[in-house]
Each structure stands twice: as structure tokens, then as C-alpha cells.
């Protein structure tokens, strides 16, 4: 089984910051807006390099989204930055009308997604944002798994015309995808070949899926791990091809099982090839304070939860 090496833990938000810094140098139409979280979003370097293209809006997310929509008129490519909670639920109607329905080229970049922002607790965590964003017609939804992939995705979405929701996180997590790798929106990445079970994971759960696959392999279960960085548009073919071989699937995400990746996968399977599926996701709950590790454990979002789900789904084959 193919193995992956963690080149050192890094936060995905820093991948976003690095990508934005590069875009500042390579694409003069890129502008950045931030709602008083420049440091948290790692936008400081872009701000320092291009003060004229950086817009501090203060603690006013609704105005930020509306301004971003307006800035596209005249050719700018606005990247907005705040926490995932304040990037979505707080400004849903602004995104819906001024960005999505108006089909504006705005990139909504959301850090601190999921429970792994940790100690701040449920007011700042969000486990509903993928669902909120994927329901908007025309919205592309991306959830990256590590530093390198987040940087690559940040560069890729600048070249894609249309509204995008880019979701990433706060904690330092293993960095294992190729440095300066290509990022193709909507194209799933098969990380391991397997015949017993498909594990489709997104975001921080991709590394956990690889860890689970390693342990399962030691017990004679060969898992095919797929990194679904783009939840919408979903790579239906990659999922269907894989379950045609394995006959069962586990989806894994740091998100509510209602409205997340798992439900999108279930729809594809129900329409094309009904297949036993287990969900590694939060079960219709808010998060709480704790360390990222404690929370991922308590809410069943780590490699051991994935292994349990695999064992369960194998029995349903």
C-alpha cells in the first residue's frame, strides 16, 4: 500500500496565506478583504506587500461580502477572509443574493472550520457550513486537507471564474501532499489503491483516513482512500469507480452528517449504484471547548472512528 510521509505539521490557514501572498505577486487583479482577523487568516504578508489591494472592513462581515461582490465589477478578484462561521451563516443572504445569484467572482475563504479551532467553543466553530454553501446554485465548495493543498487550491480558485467557498482550519496538521502540486477543482485524488472498502475523506479527515488505512492494512483489510477536496462539483465518477470495486464506502468529514460530504456521496450512490455507506461526521450536534485532539476524539472524527465505521460497513456488504 502506498504510504505518505508527513513532512511536518503545518496549519492549512498558513497554506492559504502563502497562496494569497503568491497571488499578490502574480495576479494584480487579486484583492483581499478581511473582517478584523488578518493575523488569524494569515493575510498579513499580502497586506504588507500590497496595502492598496488590502481592505480592512472591521467587524462587519455583511458589508465585506457586499463589497466583495461590488469589487468584481471592474475586474477585481476579491478574496474575503474570516472564520468559517462568520463567512457563511452570518452572511448567508448576502452571499446568496449579491454573490451566488449575481454570479460574482468572489472567493470566500474561511478559516477555523469545524471543531478543531478548539477552546473557543461552539460559538466560533461551525459544522454546518459545507451544507449551507453547497446548497447555493453555482457555488463551488472546496475543503482542503493540508498546507500544500490549501496553497495550491488558493492559487487554483483565482483562475476559476465564479463564486467559490474555500474551507480550511486552524490547527497544525500533517503536511503530506506534494509541494507546489497542481490543484484541479472537482477532481478527486486517489491516495491508496484498495479492494475491500472505499474511504472518501475531506479536509482534516484525509490524514486520519490514511492512518486508518495503514492500520486496517495490517489487519488484512485493503482500503482505497480518496481525497475529495471538492465537495461541489463532486467527482461522481471517482466515487462510483471505486465502489464498483469495493462494494462499500465510508465518508469522513469534520462536519455535521446532515448536509455534508457524506450526504452528497449518498445522493450519487442512490442515483447510480446503491451501496452500503457509513458516515464519520458529527451527529447533528454543536461542538464545545477542548483541545482539537480531544474534540476529534469525542465527536468521532479520527482514525479510530474511521476504523470502527469500516468494520461496520464491511458487515453490511
Amino acid at each position: 500500500m502506498k504510504t505518505y510521509i508527513n513532512t511536518g505539521n503545518k496549519d492549512t490557514r498558513s497554506g492559504f496565506g502563502a497562496g494569497l501572498t503568491e497571488l499578490g505577486q502574480t495576479n494584480e487583479n487579486v484583492v483581499a478583504l478581511c473582517a478584523d482577523l488578518t493575523g488569524s487568516l494569515k493575510m498579513d504578508e499580502f497586506k504588507a506587500n500590497h496595502p492598496e489591494r488590502f481592505f480592512q472592513v472591521g467587524i462587519a462581515e455583511a458589508n465585506m461580502i457586499g463589497m466583495a461582490a461590488g469589487m468584481t465589477i471592474g475586474g477585481k478578484i476579491p478574496f474575503t477572509g474570516t472564520f468559517a462561521n462568520f463567512s457563511t451563516g452570518r452572511v448567508y443572504d448576502q452571499i446568496r443574493q449579491s454573490v451566488a445569484y449575481s454570479h460574482k467572482n468572489v472567493k470566500i475563504c474561511a478559516s477555523h472550520a469545524g471543531v478543531t479551532l478548539g477552546e473557543d467553543g461552539a460559538t466560533h466553530q461551525i459544522l454546518e457550513d459545507i451544507g449551507l454553501m453547497k446548497m447555493l446554485p453555482g457555488m463551488t465548495v472546496i475543503n482542503t486537507c493540508d498546507y500544500n493543498q490549501t496553497k495550491a487550491a488558493t492559487l487554483a480558485i483565482a483562475k476559476h471564474y465564479g463564486p467559490v467557498y474555500l474551507r480550511f482550519g486552524r490547527p497544525k496538521v500533517p503536511n503530506f501532499t506534494p509541494e507546489n502540486g497542481e490543484f484541479e477543482i472537482g477532481k478527486a485524488i486517489k491516495l491508496t489503491e484498495g479492494s475491500d472498502v472505499t474511504i472518501v475523506a475531506t479536509g482534516h479527515l484525509v490524514w486520519e483516513a490514511l492512518e486508518a488505512a495503514k492500520e486496517l492494512n495490517e489487519n488484512g483489510i485493503v482500503a482505497e482512500v480518496i481525497n475529495i477536496h471538492t465537495i461541489k462539483p463532486l467527482d461522481d465518477k471517482a466515487i462510483l469507480d471505486s465502489v464498483s470495486k469495493t462494494g462499500c464506502i465510508v465518508t469522513a468529514e469534520e462536519h455535521n452528517f446532515l448536509g455534508g460530504l457524506g450526504e452528497s456521496v449518498a445522493r450519487v450512490l442512490a442515483l447510480n449504484k446503491p451501496t452500503p455507506q457509513e458516515f464519520v461526521a458529527t451527529k447533528d450536534t454543536f461542538g464545545e471547548s477542548g483541545t482539537p485532539e480531544q474534540l476529534m476524539d469525542k465527536y468521532g472524527l479520527n482514525s479510530s472512528a474511521i476504523i470502527e465505521a469500516v468494520k461496520k460497513v464491511l458487515k453490511r456488504k
Binding site: 484583492v31 492598496e52 489591494r53 481592505f55 472592513v57 472591521g58 462587519a60 455583511a62 458589508n63 465585506m64 461580502i65 457586499g66 463589497m67 466583495a68 461582490a69 461590488g70 469589487m71 468584481t72 465589477i73 471592474g74 475586474g75 477585481k76 476579491p78 443572504d93 448576502q94 446568496r96 443574493q97 449579491s98 445569484y101 449575481s102 454570479h103 460574482k104
Partner: protein
């Protein structure tokens, strides 16, 4: 350049268009549309510098954003009669498969529209964003926007108003249609907003009042004055005092016609009060 009489004739025709559009589909918002007819006519025919044809990016021309999207009838009529799309298309207002949706949208590709509006309170932020892009592009044209007075109850406006002053957005002229009415009654009864002029001034805006917002000459004079105030480090607010339903006696001085269409008899009466000038569509 048009003379006052020509603009007044066009305004009368726009009022006829508004009445006929909402009557045909028995829905839409005639009250606020009629109240803003002079403003739209002056803006699109005398005040704004626009290019021929329509380009979404609007580089090298003035831009306009309608925040209170429900007054789409006046917007559509004035756009059509300014040549953005065929006047005959006003026949399709609110019908299935039409580009003239109940509230304005870019979704159907109607020339002249640059943002969807209808859910209130979002237009000022959009206008500020467009104004920032004009500054980045070193495009010295202006951005105009229109807002309802009731709409100012939406909190996003005040985020935007604070931003615009704090960031010296001085290439923006935001006009508030001060007709004192909203769906549930007068603004004073629904949610008193106090002194709107003082509020804008306290936030750091230059504020100009047009007392006779339904007089073409007064609107022209006021908007020209507003233009002269741009470029001075402060955003400009125009408080446009209008009468909802202006030009149709039974629709005036009441909130009753905010979102209600006239019946056949009422239409006939409204049209009789506004004789055809440029030809009905």
C-alpha cells in the same frame, strides 16, 4: 442634453409604463416606482456619464446600483427608454421566462443590471465595493446608488455607511428615497429612524437634501450639486424627498400602493392623469 420639458415628458411616459406593467400582471410595486420616476429619468438622461451598449465591468463610465430592488418597474422603464433593451420587452415584466424579473437580477442577463437586489440593505456595500474598484483602476467616474428610507432599518447599511466615511469613499453618491412610507405604514410608525440627515452627518458623510424630489428641475439641480461635492474625501448622501405614488392622485400620500397593482378602472384613471407623450410600448 435634454431640456426640462423633454425630461418631464419622459417622466410622464415612465409613469404610464409603471402603471401598465404592474396592472398587466396584477403585481409589483407602483408606489415607490412612481415616487422615483423623476430621479431615474434625470439620472440616466442627464446626470450619469454612460457608454453606449452595456458592459458588466463598466470601466470608464458611471455606475448605478438599485438597492431597494422592488421598485424595478421604474428601473426597467427608464433603462428600456434609455436604450439598454427594447421597450417592447416591458410587456414581459414578471412573466415566466422573462429577463424582467420581479426584482432586478443579473441572472437573466438583462442589460443595465449589475447586481441582484430585492433582499434589502445590500446595495450600499456593493456600491462601495464598485467605488473601491474604480479607485484601484484609476477610473474617475462615479458610483450612484438608491436606497429606500425604510431600508435603512437594515443593519448592513450602517456597516457600509461607517466604512465609506472611514475609508474616504468620495466617488460615491448614495441617494435615499425619503418618502416616509414602508409596507406596514409610515416609517415613523413602523420604526422611527429619527433624524436621518444627522445620522449620516454623524458618520462623516456630506449630506444634501432635495426638497422637491418630484420636480425635474430640483432633482437636476440637486444631483449636479451632489456631483460637485464628490472628490473631497467624503462620501455624499442625497436625501431625496418624494411622494410615494406621485402623479397618480389616489396612490399618493399612502403606503397602500407599496406592493399593489391597480385594477382596470384605477389604471384608466391613472393613465388619464398621465397623457401619453413618447408612445406606449
Amino acid at each position: 442634453m435634454s431640456n426640462i420639458q423633454q425630461l418631464e415628458d419622459l417622466t410622464t411616459q415612465v409613469r404610464r409604463d409603471i402603471l401598465r406593467m404592474v396592472h398587466k400582471v396584477d403585481s409589483g410595486h407602483p408606489g415607490g416606482s412612481l415616487g422615483c420616476a423623476e430621479f431615474f429619468v434625470c439620472l440616466y438622461n442627464e446626470i450619469m456619464e454612460t457608454k453606449d451598449g452595456f458592459n458588466m465591468d463598466g470601466i470608464g463610465e458611471d455606475l448605478f446600483f438599485l438597492s431597494n430592488g422592488h421598485i424595478s418597474p421604474v428601473y426597467y422603464s427608464v433603462l428600456a427608454r434609455a436604450g439598454y433593451f427594447p421597450v417592447d420587452e416591458l410587456n414581459t415584466f414578471r412573466l415566466i421566462d422573462s429577463r424582467l424579473q420581479g426584482h432586478p437580477t443579473t441572472h437573466e442577463g438583462l442589460p443595465g443590471i449589475r447586481i441582484a437586489s430585492g433582499s434589502l440593505g445590500q446595495g450600499m456595500s456593493v456600491a462601495i465595493g464598485a467605488a473601491e474598484t474604480k479607485k484601484l483602476n484609476k477610473d474617475n467616474h462615479l458610483v450612484y446608488s438608491l436606497h429606500g428610507d425604510g431600508e435603512l432599518q437594515e443593519g448592513q447599511n450602517w456597516e457600509a455607511i461607517m466604512y465609506a466615511a472611514g475609508n474616504k469613499i468620495d466617488n460615491l453618491i448614495a441617494t435615499v428615497d425619503l418618502n416616509g412610507q414602508q409596507i406596514d405604514g409610515s416609517t415613523d410608525n413602523v420604526l422611527p429612524m429619527g433624524n436621518i440627515k444627522a445620522k449620516f452627518e454623524a458618520f462623516g458623510w456630506l449630506v444634501l437634501e432635495i426638497e422637491e424630489g418630484n420636480k425635474v428641475e430640483a432633482v437636476l439641480k440637486g444631483m449636479k450639486k451632489a456631483k460637485s461635492l464628490t472628490g473631497n474625501g467624503k462620501p455624499v448622501c442625497v436625501l431625496l424627498k418624494t411622494v410615494m405614488g406621485n402623479g397618480v392622485d389616489f396612490m399618493m400620500h399612502t403606503h397602500a400602493w407599496h406592493g399593489k397593482a391597480p385594477n382596470d378602472e384605477q389604471l384608466a384613471s391613472g393613465l388619464a392623469q398621465n397623457a401619453e407623450t413618447l408612445g406606449d410600448y
